[in-house]
């Protein structure tokens, strides 16, 4: 296996982008990444696109060749990767494998989602379709309510509080206030979170990430070739996939995610480092509870300590471990299929030392964590600062 580097990054603004289509989002991100890397179109061997549900959201399947075509790269093979909310991260893992294996040299991995061409109710229904349609949603379960039941379980078992959930959100909004690409680049007070309308008890409106439009892309190449390109490289040190039952009720543990634990174990093993070495992490905070569960299952805190650790500020920027410096899915935004790529881009920005007011000091190791559904699939990447 060859070492793999990210040599180019590009992302669009995230938000409700009424004047942009899916293909425009994909192309904008892809062109930025290719320019950043200093590669030319004809050098690209393969394009992977993470996308959750273009078929339902914009009634268009086969989106990877469409994006390649409109990027002027119609002769480049392009494949869409779908794994619910983990589509982007899984696409990145595919790109990593094809470069590491020696099959391809230059691979572009993109992610894009266009969620606002349908109304909010329809978009939420589509998001819920990553849960079990026949045995969860048919009975009335929504994606929000499944996470709410996880939250209730975590509260009962470990004493986690609604206050601690709110601290996750306040922190992530504060981080996003220094991220110009974020959908909500502003800090919010805790009482906004606590007093927000209820979505699914105990989760209120501010406990839930938004539905967003956005595109993101990275360019990968073998580490041995980085000197041939202009891009400022970062290394992908290791990747791990994890899996579990599709329905939340079939998992033995409701207050944790086995898929995350397996993915993290594999990624740490492949990287020869441990959770203690990680300086910062982008974790899948599609709900406040999700971040608390994630920082426990990734090994940063013991089970049940995720809530108190957040409350004590141990996950704030430049504290014990900086979690979701970009603002996370909650405040940077949730263009579902792009999320895993957005996370890798934040990691690259941090490791390049380009994060400005949200820079993690002396960042050497970063981790990204992307989850599909309520935890049926997960993927973890570990990235390292480039050293000659």
């Amino acid at each position: 296996m060859r070492d793999v580097a990210i040599i180019g990054i590009g992302e669009t603004q995230i938000g409700e982008l009424w004047d942009k289509s899916l293909r425009e989002l994909g192309i904008e991100a892809g062109l930025k990444a290719i320019r950043d890397a200093g590669v030319s179109g004809e050098e690209v061997d393969m394009l992977y696109v993470g996308n959750m549900s273009a078929g339902k959201l914009i009634n268009q399947e086969h989106v990877a060749p469409m994006i390649a075509d409109y990027a002027g790269l119609d002769d480049i093979p392009a494949v869409r990767i779908e794994s619910g909310g983990a589509s982007g991260g899984m696409a990145l893992a595919e790109g990593y494998i094809s470069v590491a294996s020696g099959f391809d040299d230059i691979v572009v991995v993109g992610g894009a989602e266009k969620m606002t061409d349908v109304n909010d109710e329809e978009a939420k229904k589509i998001l819920s379709s990553t849960a079990d349609q026949e045995w969860e949603t048919v009975c009335g379960a929504t994606f929000d309510s499944l996470h709410a039941m996880m939250a209730r379980y975590h509260m009962n078992k470990y004493g986690t509080t609604k206050d601690q959930f709110a601290e996750v959100i306040v922190k992530n909004h504060s981080n996003a206030s220094n991220n110009p690409n974020a959908q909500y680049p502003r800090a919010i007070p805790k009482n906004f979170v606590m007093n927000a309308p209820m979505v699914s008890d105990p989760l209120g409106m501010f406990d839930c990430a938004p539905l967003s439009d956005g595109g993101a892309a990275v360019v990968l190449c073998p580490a041995e070739y980085v000197d041939n390109y202009n891009g400022d490289p970062v290394k992908i040190l290791g990747v791990g996939h994890g899996a579990d039952h599709i329905a939340l009720h079939d998992r033995r543990e409701i207050g944790g995610m086995k898929a995350t634990r397996i993915a993290a174990e594999k990624a740490f093993k492949n990287s020869n480092i441990s959770s203690k070495d990680i300086d910062f992490a982008e974790v899948h905070d599609n709900y406040s509870i999700s971040e608390i569960v994630a920082i426990e299952d990734l090994g940063f805190f013991k089970k049940g300590e995720g809530g108190p650790a957040t409350e004590e500020g141990r996950t704030a920027l430049n504290s014990e471990i900086s979690i979701n410096t970009s603002g996370g899915l909650k405040a940077k935004g949730q263009p579902v299929g792009a999320v895993g790529i957005n996370q890798a881009i934040e990691a690259a920005i941090q490791l390049r030392g380009d994060a400005g007011d949200r820079q993690v000091e002396d960042a050497r190791y970063g981790l990204t964590h992307n989850v599909g559904g309520t935890g049926a699939s997960a993927v973890v990447h570990i990235l390292e600062r480039w050293s000659e």
Partner: protein, 137 residues
Amino acid sequence: MTTPRFWREIEQRYRGIGVQCEICDRVYFPPREICPHCRRESFGKMNERELSGKGKVLTYTEVHDPHPDFKLLTPYIMAIIEMEEDVRVTGQLVGVDYKDVETGMEVKATMRRLGEESPEGIIYYGYKFAPVKDKHE
């Protein structure tokens, strides 16, 4: 959900028919062709098993932002029920106020209306769960 898709699962939705693995005795609902523990050994050895319908609330929530098919019921209660047979099922809780719901509460499956294909279409029925008021019920 379309009619054939719902109709295929009438045995499960109306009668709570699951399966039991002949090798390890584990019970599954909905039915599976293969036991996740015994894997290929279990193929062809998953026997029909009707659930008692009785169980306890494992976790729950009150839904204020509903699935569109259940808009008129909002707010409604969703729960994961740990059934007597050591298998878990997601369903709505009915016949109880949200403030009175608690983890460990005993419930029993009850046949209710789940939805309809369209305003003129067929009606879908299935299980919801209600508190067991009298233990001898």
